[in-house]
């Protein structure tokens, strides 16, 4: 028996540590620990609710925008306003742009090096790579010269003796299965994607002024449309958005999806590894009939238990019997005892660091071992993220989702149960990206249509002034971050934030076990994972990366005063 520690888990957002017990070449137990805390919720108290989006947006710079969206929705819910059609469309466009960016960057820059052997690419045949590339898609860069030039560049890089980000990688590991040519193709597209990703986010810069961290606004969006003015979003800017969307669709369909399926074809064994929890949760998003009508969402809301796709359970964030958070193994304490479970509206977050003083070798995983709390839905540990979203929408009968999922399963020649795995998680993210790119175009066309019809409004003005608000109100904002279900709860008193709570995707996935000893998604997914070389934990990071960890999001719950968060109700 060996205990493997992987810390830092790299190619993620934030600070994550995994401790895994390996027996007979397989993982028999695992512990996931978030090792950094900031305390954003405490900082929000007493501030102007209209500013909260900016504070919470800084929870994460990788999934930028998503916390801003959850925040403005929470405030709008509290003060009872809805946003104009154009604002909803701009938010949807920014949402889809974020998905496409985030998922592509995750696949190539955060995840690919778990599957792609960069060193092997050095000995690939450029001619064969070119033939392969042409057989996979109609992407423009497939010439022999292109791959041969890239290979020369790689060689001179390696010959320099300075391997930079590639130094000490797991090159030559027996778990790498791709032919040399696929490796070279993937390295080429790693670089293409790195250059392309800065283009898609220009959509955020046009509507929100910058990326990362574009601007949002309670009541709408801060940009204005004016087809008679150079100083506003006009035809030229809209044309640029249209062009970026077209290029994004091309990149996703001609580069990302073909690469994903080609690489997945060599790793079908990973369709039986890393499945983990059988339960999936999605709040859903992308309203087509308004945020108040979840049935019109492109991404559906619901929960699946025990991998039973024949039944999707209703999810209600306001029901105090549904979502609860535990701290039995988290560095916090509850007044009612550390085995209690509290709904976010009743949450307590008193800080209680009992971990070893650094430097240390191992955490005491019998006790508290993470800055993440442990959320449960009706006492069940749930996985959230692209796989959960695709499964919920699939099970609810979304034709668009069914079509892309079934097509991919057919291409890979695997059954639907293959989705419950590390490979399934990674594939679901790609399929979702294909949809997000299409929806970008759909929402864009709708925006143009709305402008053409003479509606240029982007802001609901009547409740902007806090003097128009009730003395006390509360609201909740639900969304889907690229990494999964995200919600913000706000309570407003005397026009200021009285309390603010976030429950974020990586808290669901990366949390420590609950008082009953049930593991959360990361920990459960590692059980049974083969480990060929204990000193090179490639298989561990494959499965962990398949979730796309985002730890700065997950660890923010900190109230050093141990203030009791009062019960609030959602209207």
């Amino acid at each position: 028996m060996a205990r493997i520690v992987v810390d830092p888990i790299t190619r993620i957002e934030g600070h994550l540590r995994i401790e895994a017990v390996v027996e007979g070449g397989k993982i028999t137990d695992a512990f996931s620990s978030g090792t950094m805390v900031r305390g954003i919720e405490k900082i929000l108290r007493g501030r102007d609710p209209r500013d909260a989006w900016a504070f919470t947006e800084r929870v994460c710079g990788v999934c930028t925008t998503v916390h801003a969206l959850a925040s403005v929705r929470a405030v709008e819910d509290a003060i009872k306003i809805s946003v104009p059609k154009n604002a909803e469309l701009v938010r949807n466009i920014m949402f889809c742009a974020q998905y496409v960016h985030d998922h592509v960057v995750h696949f190539y820059h955060l995840h690919a090096l778990d599957w792609v052997d960069v060193v092997s690419a050095l000995s690939a045949d450029p001619q064969a790579t070119s033939d392969l590339a042409k057989s996979l898609s109609n992407y423009s860069k497939t010439s022999v010269g292109y791959f041969s030039d890239l290979q020369k560049r790689l060689k001179s890089f390696v010959d320099s003796g300075q391997l930079g980000i590639f130094a000490n990688g797991y090159w030559g590991h027996s778990a790498f299965k791709l032919p040399k040519e696929v490796n070279l193709l993937a390295v080429a597209h790693y670089l293409e994607a790195l250059e392309w990703q800065k283009e898609i986010v220009k959509i955020h810069a046009i509507f929100g002024g910058k990326n990362p961290h574009p601007n949002y606004l309670v009541g709408g969006v801060p940009c204005s449309f004016n087809l008679e003015e150079v100083n506003a979003i006009n035809t030229e800017k809209l044309n640029l958005v249209g062009k970026i969307i077209k290029d994004a669709m091309n990149f996703v369909e001609q580069v990302y999806l073909p690469d994903l399926l080609a690489i997945a074809g060599f790793y079908k064994d990973w369709a039986a590894i890393g499945g983990g929890l059988p339960n999936y949760l999605a709040y859903g998003d992308l309203p087509t009939k308004g945020y108040g009508f979840p049935d019109g969402f492109k991404l559906q809301r619901g929960a699946i238990l025990n991998r039973d796709l024949s039944k999707v359970y209703e999810v209600n964030g306001a029901d105090e019997n549904e979502i609860k958070e535990y701290v039995a193994h988290s560095w916090y304490k509850y007044e009612a005892g550390d085995t209690a479970g509290l709904h976010p509206w009743k949450g307590e977050t008193e800080f209680n660091f009992t971990g070893p003083q650094p430097p240390f070798e191992n955490l005491n995983t019998d006790g508290k071992y993470s800055w993440l709390k442990t959320p449960r839905w009706k006492e069940n540990p749930m996985e959230v993220g692209p796989l959960a979203r695709m499964l919920v929408s699939y099970a609810k009968g979304s034709q668009e989702v069914k079509e892309v999922v079934d097509e991919a399963l057919k291409k890979l020649d695997v059954p639907v149960t293959a989705l419950f795995s590390t490979l399934g998680r990674t594939a679901a993210r790609g399929l979702e990206t294909k949809l997000a790119a299409r929806w970008l175009k759909e929402f864009y066309d709708e925006l143009i249509g709305n402008l053409k019809a003479g509606d240029t409004n982007t802001f609901t003005r009547d409740k902007w002034e806090p003097t128009s608000w009730p003395a006390e109100c509360e609201g909740v904002g639900l969304t889907e971050a690229p990494r999964g279900a995200l919600a913000h709860w706000i309570r407003i008193k005397d026009r200021k934030i009285d309390n603010y709570q976030l429950v974020v995707p990586s808290t669901w996935n990366a949390s420590p076990r609950d008082p009953a000893g049930k593991r959360s998604a990361y920990e459960e997914s590692l059980i049974g994972t083969p480990v060929a070389k204990e000193e090179e934990p490639l298989e561990i990071i494959r499965t962990i990366h398949s979730f796309d960890p985002c730890l700065a999001c997950a660890v923010h719950l900190y109230d050093p005063d141990g203030n009791h968060i009062r019960r609030i109700t959602v209207s």
Binding site: V6, R11, R58, Q162, I165, A205, T456
Partner: protein
């Protein structure tokens, strides 16, 4: 009456810096000048003996927006930086290895390149408890000190590392601390949440191109990008001078792109390159897309709110002023405070603008309110109106 120009120290004190901080910043400025003959010389020498200078990029209390911004750079593109410019030996966001192998990349670089590697830091360091930020079982503070000791140059990426940013906003629950207060050597501060991509890549390539670190101001910021206020370089500045303001989101003035001052824009007290370099390949910046600047590159900007309340007054009325000359004192206006707001750099300028306002009365529907402000400001004769410029 001539307004006294605040000294740098006074400006800093007004922003909450102590005298100790001020002395530290003096040290930064002096040390930065001295770097060209001491440790910087070593960096340059390292460049001559290695194809690419070794770089360690550390992550502490942050949201990774700085790393994300860095890879948005359009010139140079980040692939060229990774392959041709720098040897990015340790960055948790992009590096292939994890765990022990990742730590080995960091430790080897530090050990084998003593005095010759560049340290880039993203994130603040919590001094409240070592348990608040731990990587590989070590505290952030320890990792920072170990990595800084042998670094030839240290760059603080973003507002977290430069000022503490959002986690240091009141009540700063973890005692999030900027790195210059922890390590005993000069730091190049590159504030912003995040900094502009091309500013980041320009700063790391500046040394390679010109053989010296960029000129720094009293706060350790490269003057190349932080010497001008957003307000003074903003394309909407003429509307401010003419008294043409957005009064409500998406009103007619917003649709014409008028000045966002009354909507709380912090451009007048924010030193950054946004209005010139712009974002995402020179495409836009917050004001251009209709939202005011929130001042994200200024120390303590999170506590200088609410963001949608306009500034009551700000120092240094004049586009000739730079950060070192006027500092960045800012206060939020009380209700009605705008009447006391001084709108231009001096009497001569104000007269000119008033004349323009009068000329424009039949042209611009929003002149009336703007004009009223100018007149009210004039009537109140705030002392600031004359000062500012030297």
């Amino acid at each position: 009456m001539k307004k006294k120009i605040p000294s740098i120290e006074q400006s800093m004190q007004a922003k909450g810096y102590s005298r100790r901080d001020f002395l530290y910043f003096c040290g930064v400025a002096a040390a930065a000048a001295g770097l060209s003959t001491t440790s910087l010389g070593q960096v340059v020498k390292a460049f001559e003996t290695k194809p690419r200078p070794p770089v360690v990029w550390l992550h502490f209390q942050e949201c990774t927006c700085c790393s994300e911004s860095f890879i948005r750079s359009t010139h140079p593109i980040v692939a060229d930086i990774i392959f041709d410019t720098l040897s990015l030996d340790y960055t948790e966001t992009l590096m292939a290895p994890a765990g022990h192998q990742a730590e080995k990349s960091r430790d080897d670089t530090i050990k084998n390149n003593q005095g010759k590697y560049i340290l880039l830091v993203e994130g603040s360091v919590p001094l409240g408890n070592p348990g608040f930020c731990m990587i590989g079982g070590k505290s952030a503070e320890q990792i920072l000190k170990d990595a800084a000791a042998g670094a030839a140059a240290v760059v603080a990426w973003g507002s977290c590392a430069s000022h503490g940013c959002v986690q240091s906003a009141k009540p700063n629950p973890t005692q999030a601390t900027p790195i210059h207060k922890i390590i005993g050597k000069p730091v190049i501060n590159v504030p912003g949440c995040p900094p502009i991509a091309e500013v980041m890549t320009a700063i790391v390539t500046h040394v390679l191109l010109f053989g010296k670190i960029p000129e720094l101001d009293s706060q350790g910021r490269p003057k190349e990008f932080y010497s001008r206020r957003v307000h003074d370089t903003c394309y909407r500045r003429p509307y401010y001078d003419a008294g043409l303001f957005v009064e409500s989101w998406d009103d007619d003035a917003a649709r014409k792109g008028y000045c966002l001052y009354k909507m709380g824009c912090r451009g007048p007290v924010t030193y950054n390159a946004c209005a010139v370099t712009k974002w995402n390949g020179n495409l836009s910046y917050p004001i251009q897309s209709g939202h005011g600047c929130i001042g994200c590159s200024e120390a303590g900007f999170w506590d200088n709110g609410p963001f949608y309340q306009h500034l009551g007054a700000f120092p240094g009325f004049g586009i000739e002023s730079t950060a070192d000359k006027v500092g960045t004192v800012a206060t939020v206006a009380t209700v009605g405070g705008i009447a006391l707001h001084a709108i231009t750099s001096n009497i001569r300028k104000q007269k000119l603008i008033r004349e323009n306002m009068e000329e424009s009365v039949t042209v611009h529907p929003f002149k009336g309110e703007g004009g009223a402000d100018v007149e009210a400001a004039e009537a109140a004769k705030p002392e600031e109106t004359k000062g500012g410029d030297e």
